[in-house]
């Protein structure tokens, strides 16, 4: 067997190179704090990765080069193809898939480690065995959970919450069972039982499926962030098992990032992470709203909307997931261009959980060349709302519902919202009066200063742009 075998695993040279590598990751992430430097930061992190990979390939003990080449070639080709082909509206699916393969890789590595321990014979040291078991559990949960998240985002399975009776009990039994199995393996570690290990992988897989299946579409920002954190933790655990400092640091950085995003998303919904994971929100109230009373709404056409917008001084556009579904970002930008050419100030109000993942709307609008400065965060734009002439809600629903502020009994009571009803006039572009994810009526639609434009977001934005041009 050929081996380059220049570096000793765990030796000074290899460790020094790994330190260079993770330092570059941290530098790269630091540059990611501003759009003007983020692209360079990404390159710096990629260089760090190249250092880590080359260092590992030079380690003593590397081998099976043909398989290494096959794995690298297939993975690189798939990754490159997907990254070029993916539409910006599909980024949540892509990140869900990347979370999944990351977790899957860790679970497979853990399995290989166990087999390696068995081959060597004798007791597997607990300081290797315990992190290996943790890596297997978290990796398997993330792999299967992410696959379900992907399937929901891609509409392969219904996005509404799917729950089986006694779900919480089944989850609890599976969770406890996995831990008990891990303890049994750790106690009888001479040698560890591969059969029980595979049982752990399977139980964790079922758990991953069952935890994500009951979670509805609009809670996806939290789920994706959390799975992101899980994959990071699983990589750190694998780092402990393999005593590899690059894996420990890189995995922990990813875990921190996912954790921060998870907390921010939950805060933006005014719900705890536990509530999002275990409540199956949105299923029950949806049925109740069918009986809803008929309240009068004001309906307008594209021409009237164009007139309202064209004679405004300030317009705020509030995008939501519907904008992504309709692929309306370019049409909306064209509408904004028309308004700006008439001297109207246009800004965009982005709710933290608008869309299906953190920052989803920002990426869509950036794709349509909306300048970074016009993308306003919720806390930044809300004080401006009362001085806004027209707010245009495109494909957003629950995040604009004044009931969150006014009705303490509302399921979304206390959730921070974009306060569009403070604007002088509101235009809501929406296909129908149907409820949003929370399954409740949006009081905004029935307010006296609100006009409904019933249409597809992309078609409506295009028509309004054309009407403004002719004014």
């Amino acid at each position: 067997m050929i081996s380059l075998a220049v570096l000793e695993p765990g030796g000074d040279a290899a460790t020094a190179l790994y330190i260079v590598s993770f330092s570059l990751f941290i530098l790269g992430l630091k540059q990611g704090t501003h759009p003007s430097t983020a692209k360079r930061g990404n390159l710096i992190a990629a260089v760090g990765m190249a250092v880590a990979v080359v260092t590992t390939l030079l380690l003593d003990g590397m081998g099976n080069w043909g398989l290494v080449a096959i794995g690298l070639a297939i993975g690189s080709a798939v990754g490159a193809y997907a990254s070029i082909k993916v539409k910006m509206t599909e980024m949540p699916q892509m990140v869900a898939l990347y979370n999944g393969v990351g977790g899957g890789a860790v679970a497979l590595i853990a399995w290989s480690e166990i087999r390696h321990g068995i081959h060597i014979g004798g007791a597997m040291p607990l300081e290797d065995l315990i992190p290996t078991l943790l890596a297997a559990i978290i990796g398997s949960v993330s792999f299967w959970g992410s696959n379900i998240a992907f399937a929901k985002l891609q509409d392969l399975i219904p996005t509404r919450p799917l729950a089986v009776p006694g779900q919480q009990i089944i989850n609890a039994v599976l969770g406890i069972g996995v831990i008990v199995l891990a303890i049994v393996i750790a106690i009888n570690n001479d040698p560890p039982s591969q059969f029980l290990f595979i049982l752990i992988l399977v139980a964790a897989a079922i758990l991953g499926n069952l935890v994500v299946l009951p979670i509805g579409g609009a809670d996806m920002p939290v789920v994706i962030s959390m799975l992101n954190a899980f994959t990071g933790l699983s990589a750190a655990a694998a780092g402990f098992a393999l005593q590899n400092v690059a894996l420990i640091v890189a995995g922990t950085l990813v875990g921190s990032s996912g954790t921060i995003l998870t907390m921010e998303m939950a805060t933006a919904m005014n719900r705890s992470v536990a509530n999002i994971l275990f409540s199956g929100f949105g299923g029950a109230p949806a049925a109740a709203s069918g009986s809803g009373e008929q309240r009068p709404v004001t309906s307008i056409g594209a021409q009237d909307a164009a007139i309202k917008l064209a004679y405004a001084d300030t317009v705020v556009i509030v995008p939501g997931y519907g904008l992504a579904v309709a692929q309306a970002q370019h049409a909306v930008k064209e509408m904004a261009n028309q308004l700006e050419s008439r001297g109207v100030t246009v800004n965009y109000a982005i709710h933290p959980v608008a869309g299906r993942m953190p920052g989803h709307m920002n990426v869509l609008l950036a794709e349509a060349d909306v300048p970074y400065e016009q993308l306003k965060e919720m806390d930044e734009i809300n004080p401006e709302m009362s001085r806004t002439d027209v707010a245009v809600v495109i494909g957003a629903n629950d995040v604009t519902n004044p009931a969150a502020k006014n009705d303490p009994n509302s399921p979304i009571a206390g959730m921070p919202i974009i306060e569009v009803s403070e604007a002088n006039e509101v235009i809501v572009i929406k296909r129908s009066l149907s409820t949003g994810f929370a399954g409740i009526d949006n009081d905004l639609f029935y307010e006296p200063n609100t006009s409904m434009l019933f249409a597809d977001a992309k078609a409506a934005a295009g028509e309004i742009a054309a009407e403004i041009e002719q004014l």
Partner: protein
């Protein structure tokens, strides 16, 4: 490397991670996620290591898939992040000065 050395590194990395990531603006959260997906591709090192001592058919398969999964994360993650950040970077901002005066000025410094 002793277990305690590893734990020291782990704990310090948590603090560094929180410190750095909490400064990333919400606008860049999607590229942040895809970039951390790429950094998570570091698990490919684990795949390479276990493939190095794989000894039977099953281990060959497991190791090769682990390496391929890691490579998907690395290549796909960095490339798609680069693509997205390119969209944020290209901003001709012809009207930027029109809005610079509306009281938000402080943030523009640097």
């Amino acid at each position: 490397m002793s277990l305690f050395t590893e734990f020291t590194i782990f704990v310090l990395a948590i603090f560094v991670g929180f410190e750095v990531i909490s400064k990333v603006p919400t606008t860049l959260h999607t590229p942040l996620m895809s970039q951390t997906n790429a950094i998570h591709g570091i698990v490919m090192l684990g795949g390479l290591i276990v493939l190095g001592y794989a000894g039977d058919g099953l281990e060959y398969v497991i190791g090769t898939i682990a390496v391929a999964f890691g490579a998907i994360n690395i290549v796909g993650g960095f490339m798609v992040t680069d693509r997205m950040l390119g969209m944020f970077a290209k901003k001709p901002k012809p009207k930027a000065d029109a809005k610079a005066g509306d009281g938000k000025g402080g943030g523009a410094g640097k």
